[in-house]
Each structure stands twice: as structure tokens, then as C-alpha cells.
């Protein structure tokens, strides 16, 4: 069963690799590029951030609302240290150093969030991570010296080498896809490792795991560190995609959006994060056509509410239910 999922996922990645080429065959040039970079690419970037939440929720049972903030930490550290960003806060580093630095910072922030919330569970955890995320957001929004406050830091254009310019939508798409695939298979591998098994044990029964001699606290904090790293990758990509970062990127709206993506897609498997982010991005982009743009939030709120009420396991759950129904029908 598990290997079947991995095979399907691999096929999915291959299909996504070929998709830009396919789109170019059927759509006008501008639209093909738009779908590739700004629907699929954006969905993949957000999907990575959502997957850091899905990973924690699926295998640890932790619904953390701090993931968008952690992604923002990577973005901000990158923007603060990289050369060419406007305004220059510290600067002086190339992308080859600033990006890893951002990822380290995000991982550290993940560990910190894990450590702060280590003794709480369920809704307590939800509340605390939300409060932490909003605290960082308010700080970033009001602090000028380090984060340039409300305006944020612009002109983070991304690395460019001859033949490899991240500003090229195709290159960006493939970088994002590659990162997502690596992280996705990394997560699938990790959860079958001893660490992942202990994590799932903690989710189901922390006392028994502790009785077996494992440190529940350390495993929890480490899981948050892993999630922080994943979110950091997403945050780095999103900062380059947006040519910069501002507090709005990690505000309450953005934080809730990541939760919406994860829940719409389904918290049962990491792939749900990407399904959810794709659905969200399509809605977000075409809301003006589907429904009056001004009321986009009502629309997405209703979709979210209906999913929570009807199918708590999201789109994956709906899919699974349909399959069962079809199988039953055939018999």
C-alpha cells in the first residue's frame, strides 16, 4: 500500500515535469507561462509550506499555526543578508550563503516553537502557535531597524547564473518542483524511519512511548525542527517569487490561508498539502471570474467551512470515499 502511494506520487511528479510543455501546446504563450509559473508554481511553493503543517499534523498530531511565520523567518533572513535587497539591512552575502542561512534560521525557529509548546497538545498548541506567529508578525510590522516595518524588504531577485536565471518562470517552476519533490519523498522516507515511527507513537500514545524509554519532548522538538526546515524552503522560494517580503506575507490572513490549504487538501497524507494549495490558488486567482472579487474571502471561507463540516479529512477524504463508493458499486 505504502509503496503504491510512492509510485503514484512519482508518476505525479513526472506528470508535473511534463506539464509546462503540454500547456505550451494547448494554450497561448502568455497563458501557458501564467499557468506554469503563477498557478502551478505558486501552488507548489505554498504547498511546501502547507506540507510542513500537514507533516506535523499527520504524523505528530500537532496542528501548528506557526508554519507561515517560520517560512517568513527564512524569507526575512534571506532578505536581510542578501546583496541587492532594498533597503540594505545587513547585506554582503550572495545567495549561496544567504539561502542556507535563512534555512538554518527557519529550522532554529521551528525548534524554538517546538520547545516553547512542548508541554501542550491539541487546541492549546493551536492557540500558542497562533499567538507566537502573531507576535512575530506584529514585531516585524513595527520594527524598522531590522525588518523595515510595514513596507518590508524588496528586490530579492534570486540567484542568476548564465543559463540558470531563477527569474525565468520555467527555471523557477522546475526549481520549486524539484525542491517540493525532494522534501515530499524526504518526508515519506522519514516517517518510516525509527524517528518517524516514534513520532507516530507519540501521536497515538505519548505515555507508552515514554515508558519505552524514548524522550517524547526531544522527538517533538525535532519534528518541529524538520517542519521548520520544510517551511523555510517554502519561505525562501516564496520570497524569491515575490521579489521580496513584507509583513503581510506572515499576517493572520496568510497564516489562516496555510491552514485552509492543509485542511481543504486533507490532513491525512502530505500530498493533501499540494492538492489543497492548488485548489486554493485556482480559487484565489479566478475568484473575480467565479464570483465577485470583492467577496473572495466569503467564498473561500464557505468552502473551508463546508469541508470541515462535511469531510474533515479534506479532498483526499472525498477521493477515498468516492473510490470506496465506486468499488462497492462495481460489486
Amino acid at each position: 500500500m505504502r509503496s503504491a502511494a510512492a509510485t503514484w506520487s512519482l508518476l505525479g511528479v513526472l506528470a508535473l515535469l511534463a506539464l509546462p510543455w503540454l500547456l505550451a501546446q494547448v494554450l497561448p504563450a502568455g497563458q501557458a507561462q501564467f499557468w506554469t509559473a503563477n498557478i502551478l508554481g505558486r501552488a507548489i511553493v505554498f504547498g511546501i509550506i502547507a506540507m510542513s503543517l500537514t507533516f506535523l499534523a499527520t504524523y505528530g498530531g500537532f496542528v501548528s499555526l506557526a508554519q507561515m511565520m517560520i517560512a517568513g523567518v527564512a524569507g526575512y533572513v534571506l532578505a536581510i543578508f542578501v546583496d541587492g535587497a532594498v533597503p540594505r539591512i545587513v547585506g554582503g552575502l550572495g545567495y549561496s550563503l544567504a539561502v542556507p542561512l535563512g534555512l538554518v534560521a527557519a529550522t532554529a525557529m521551528g525548534l524554538l516553537v517546538g520547545a516553547i509548546s512542548v508541554r501542550t497538545r491539541d487546541i492549546y498548541l493551536l492557540m500558542i502557535t497562533l499567538a507566537l506567529a502573531m507576535g512575530v508578525f506584529r514585531f516585524v510590522e513595527t520594527n524598522i531597524a531590522w525588518f523595515n516595518g510595514y513596507e518590508g524588504i524588496r528586490n530579492v531577485v534570486g540567484p542568476a547564473m548564465p543559463g540558470f536565471d531563477v527569474r525565468d518562470p520555467m527555471v523557477f517552476y522546475h526549481v520549486a518542483l524539484g525542491t517540493a519533490a525532494l522534501l515530499y519523498f524526504g518526508v515519506l522516507y522519514l516517517v518510516r524511519s525509527p524517528f518517524g515511527l516514534v513520532l507516530q507513537g507519540i501521536r497515538d500514545n505519548p505515555r507508552r512511548v515514554a515508558a519505552l524509554g524514548y524522550s517524547v519532548a526531544l522527538h517533538r522538538i525535532a519534528a518541529f525542527g524538520v517542519a521548520g526546515f520544510i517551511a523555510g524552503c517554502g519561505g525562501t522560494l516564496s520570497t524569491i517569487y515575490n521579489i521580496g517580503i513584507s509583513p503581510g506575507t506572515i499576517g493572520l490572513g496568510a497564516t489562516v490561508n496555510v491552514l485552509i490549504m492543509s485542511v481543504i487538501g486533507g490532513l491525512g497524507h502530505p500530498v493533501g498539502a499540494f492538492i489543497g494549495s492548488l485548489i486554493f490558488t485556482v480559487f484565489d486567482t479566478f475568484a473575480a471570474t467565479i464570483y465577485d472579487r470583492d467577496r473572495f474571502n466569503t467564498l473561500i471561507g464557505l468552502v473551508f467551512l463546508v469541508i470541515v463540516l462535511v469531510s474533515p479529512d479534506g479532498a483526499i477524504g472525498i477521493g477515498a470515499r468516492l473510490r470506496r463508493l465506486l468499488a462497492a458499486g462495481r460489486r
Binding site: 509559473a37 503563477n38 532594498v86 513595527t142 516595518g149 513596507e151 518590508g152 521579489i243 473575480a288
Partner: protein
């Protein structure tokens, strides 16, 4: 509601046009490009706290496009609406959608400062497309690192304070002021513009900064009331400004008030309460006023009222509505000059934009400098009680104010970007 319907009508109209274009295409192929509608993408803020400004911007644009029957230089204009929530990344996503998915030729927008800088950066990556500002007013959008594809026919936050410092020092004879301002880029720019004149003449300013979103100013007001300041310069936006004014009135403040451009605004004046008492008589500077003694403005206001007063419009067009209209005028002027010719990567069109000299709805003349930034008139305003309503009345006009307030650009740039540590008071 009406906007929604008319958009649908517009889309229907454009479908018909497209069909017409196809029919014509069979006869003369090269004519297609010339007769196909020009696609103008609008980007403003219809979500979040700035939504009222964004709605008014679209009201004004719709009114002006209706007036010319959606036609300029022999070509139809098709207007595609998009909306952001005043966040830079959302504005960027919408702009990309307008360019790539909706295939617009020109973007008119955005509304707020950070969005403007994000779109400026994006415009640099485009070729054959032009972005003309909506209402965003950050100086750096055009002053530092300008983009060849970004044009701004509206003035910026520093320009809006032109003439105010001199008026306070020379006409009012005030030598010391207390400046209370929000701790972010837009108030920095405004305070900078004020101090540039006021401090240079010998005035002294004490600054009180408060983070964006501050709603409790009582401690600050207590300090200011105890100081020797002869007047208070207030540069807060939206809710913060209302909170300051209300608490100032409650504390029984009676020093003369000098307001930033967004303080003397109908959103503030139409809100009820004690702040209106202290705001009567407040002096401010800015690109518009409710009452300007100018026939162009009177005509514009009259048309605006006739069109929108019964459909949710304000008594008088808002600052965002006027800025969007001014920039729209720039686009229309250039399109007319080149007969709607957007070929050759819009080279001729962009040249015409750069050379355009237009009259804004306020009656101010506008032309662009070498950074494609407006040089235009700024009004000195006073809030007066007229027919039971508080109104912003222009009593003076500083003409042809450029982005460096008349200073040589090199010297101005050397002063550095405005910030809380660099508020423009360099002796």
C-alpha cells in the same frame, strides 16, 4: 452592484468587438492589431482597510471611460478589474495575472506604497508592457532605482507637504512644533517634506513616533500638551489618526494643528465625534481639496456627484479617485498622441507618456521628470465649516513642485532616505 453589471456589459461589448475584429481580419490582416481593443488592467484595493479608497478609484475610472465612450485614438478600451488587499505579494500576483492571463497592455495601479514598489520591480522584468501608477505615493518608487516601464502622474508623499513648512514658519510665525507621526515609510516621507522647509528656515521640531496600529495616544498627548510647541504636526493614517484626534479633543487640547495629507480627508471628517471640533481650522497640504477654486475641478466634482452620489459615492471625490484619474488621463493623452499604436514594444506610446503634459482633475498641470515622476501643483488647505459640514478648502497652491522640492537631485539624494532617524531636519 452597478460596477458588476457594467463589467458584464463591458465584457459582452468586448465579445462583440472581438467578433467584429475577426470579421474585419478577413479583409485586411494588418488592421487587426490596430482595431483590436486596447486592454487596460486596473489594479486597486477592494479588500481590507483601504477598500473604500479602492472603490472610489474604480468609480472615477469608470466615469471617465464612460465619458469617452471607451474609445481613444480610434481604438476601444477594454477595462479589466483586479483587486488586491494592499499587500505587496498579493498585488504582484494580481499584476502577473493581468499581464499573463488577461493579456493586458497597460496596468493602472496600485493603491498603496509597498505595492507600488513591488510593481515597479515587476515592471522591470516586462517588455512591451507599461505600468502606470494608481495612487501609491512612496518616493522611492520613482526616486531611487526607477524602472523604465513605470510611470507616475501623481505626486508622492514628500511632495504633498510642499509649502506647508514655510507657511507655518513665515505666515503663522510658529518657531517650534511637535511632530506626531506613524513609525513607517509614508509618514517618514511626509515629515521629511515638512521639515525640509521648516527646519531650513530655522524652526525646531520634536518628534513623537508611534507604531502603525497605535490606538492609545494619551501618554503622548500628555507630553505634547506640556511642551513648548506652538503647533502639532499630525501624520497618522486611518484609524490611528482618528484615535489621536479624538483623544486630543478629549484631553482638551488647544494647540493649532497641522495635518498630513491623509489626515484632512473625508473619511476622517465624515466620521462623527469630538475630533471634528479640533480639526476645524487645521492646515494641511496635499494634491487635492474638497473645494478648489478652479473650473476644471468644479466640473469634475459636479460630474462625479451626478454619476455616483446616489450609488454610494462620496460628497467629493477621494484622494485615491483623483490620483487614479490623473494617471488615467496620462494614459489616455499618450494613447491619443500615438493613435492607439502600441506596436514596437510600446516604444512610441512610452515616449508619448514621458512627454505628456496634462491637466489633472484638480486643475493642476502635470508633466513628468526624467524618472517618469510627476511634477505638479500642491494645494495648501484649511478645514472649514461650510453648510454644517467640515470641508477641506484650498487657500493657496504651490506650482510645479518636483520630487526633490526644488532641491538639486544630487543634493536631495545625499540627504538619504527619510526615516525616523533622518526626518529631514538637517541644520
Amino acid at each position: 452592484m452597478t460596477i458588476k453589471i457594467s463589467r458584464r456589459v463591458m465584457l459582452l461589448g468586448s465579445a462583440g468587438l472581438a467578433a467584429g475584429g475577426l470579421a474585419a481580419g478577413r479583409i485586411a490582416a494588418p488592421a487587426i492589431a490596430q482595431n483590436a481593443p486596447i486592454r487596460l488592467g486596473g489594479l486597486t484595493t477592494l479588500e481590507g482597510p483601504f477598500a473604500t479608497g479602492g472603490q472610489d478609484a474604480y468609480r472615477c475610472i469608470q466615469m471617465e471611460l464612460e465619458r469617452i465612450n471607451h474609445t481613444v485614438g480610434g481604438r476601444k478600451i477594454e477595462f479589466v478589474r483586479e483587486s488586491s488587499n494592499a499587500q505587496a505579494d498579493v498585488a504582484l500576483a494580481r499584476a502577473r495575472k493581468l499581464v499573463e492571463q488577461d493579456n493586458v497592455d497597460i496596468i493602472l495601479g496600485p493603491l498603496s506604497g509597498a505595492e507600488g514598489i513591488a510593481l515597479r520591480d515587476y515592471s522591470r522584468t516586462l517588455s512591451g508592457k507599461t505600468i502606470v501608477n494608481g495612487s501609491s505615493g512612496a518616493s522611492d518608487t520613482t526616486l531611487r532605482n526607477p524602472s523604465p516601464n513605470f510611470f507616475r502622474f501623481s505626486t508622492d508623499g514628500t511632495q504633498w507637504m510642499a509649502g506647508l513648512g514655510r507657511h507655518v514658519y513665515q505666515t503663522l510665525g510658529i518657531r517650534e512644533v511637535a511632530v506626531t507621526a506613524g513609525d513607517y515609510a509614508f509618514p517618514y516621507a511626509q515629515v521629511f517634506g515638512f521639515n525640509l522647509e521648516f527646519c531650513r528656515l530655522g524652526g525646531r521640531a520634536t518628534h513623537y513616533w508611534a507604531p502603525l496600529g497605535t490606538t492609545d495616544f494619551t501618554s503622548q498627548i500628555a507630553q505634547i500638551n506640556r511642551s513648548n510647541a506652538g503647533a502639532i504636526v499630525v501624520v497618522h493614517g486611518g484609524t490611528d489618526g482618528l484615535a489621536f484626534m479624538t483623544q486630543y479633543a478629549q484631553a482638551g487640547g488647544n494647540k493649532p494643528l497641522i495635518g498630513g495629507s491623509i489626515m484632512a480627508d473625508q473619511t476622517m471628517l465624515s466620521a462623527r465625534g469630538p475630533h471634528r471640533r479640533v480639526m476645524i481650522g487645521m492646515i494641511s497640504g496635499g494634491p487635492i481639496a474638497d473645494v478648489i477654486d478652479d473650473p476644471t475641478w468644479r466640473d469634475f466634482v459636479e460630474r462625479y456627484r451626478k454619476r455616483w452620489l446616489n450609488e454610494g459615492g462620496f460628497q467629493s471625490p477621494s484622494i485615491h479617485g483623483v490620483n487614479y484619474t490623473t494617471n488615467l488621463y496620462g494614459i489616455l493623452h499618450a494613447l491619443k498622441a500615438v493613435d492607439g499604436d502600441l506596436s514596437n514594444n510600446q516604444a512610441a506610446f512610452q515616449q508619448a507618456l514621458a512627454k505628456a503634459e496634462i491637466t489633472a482633475p484638480t486643475g493642476a498641470t502635470v508633466k513628468l521628470d526624467h524618472n517618469r515622476q510627476a511634477i505638479s501643483d500642491i494645494f495648501l488647505n484649511r478645514i472649514e465649516e461650510r453648510q454644517g459640514n467640515a470641508q477641506v478648502v484650498a487657500f493657496d497652491r504651490a506650482r510645479a513642485i518636483n520630487q526633490t522640492l526644488g532641491m538639486p537631485e544630487e543634493q536631495f539624494l545625499k540627504l538619504g532616505a527619510p526615516s525616523r532617524d533622518n526626518p529631514g531636519c538637517v541644520a
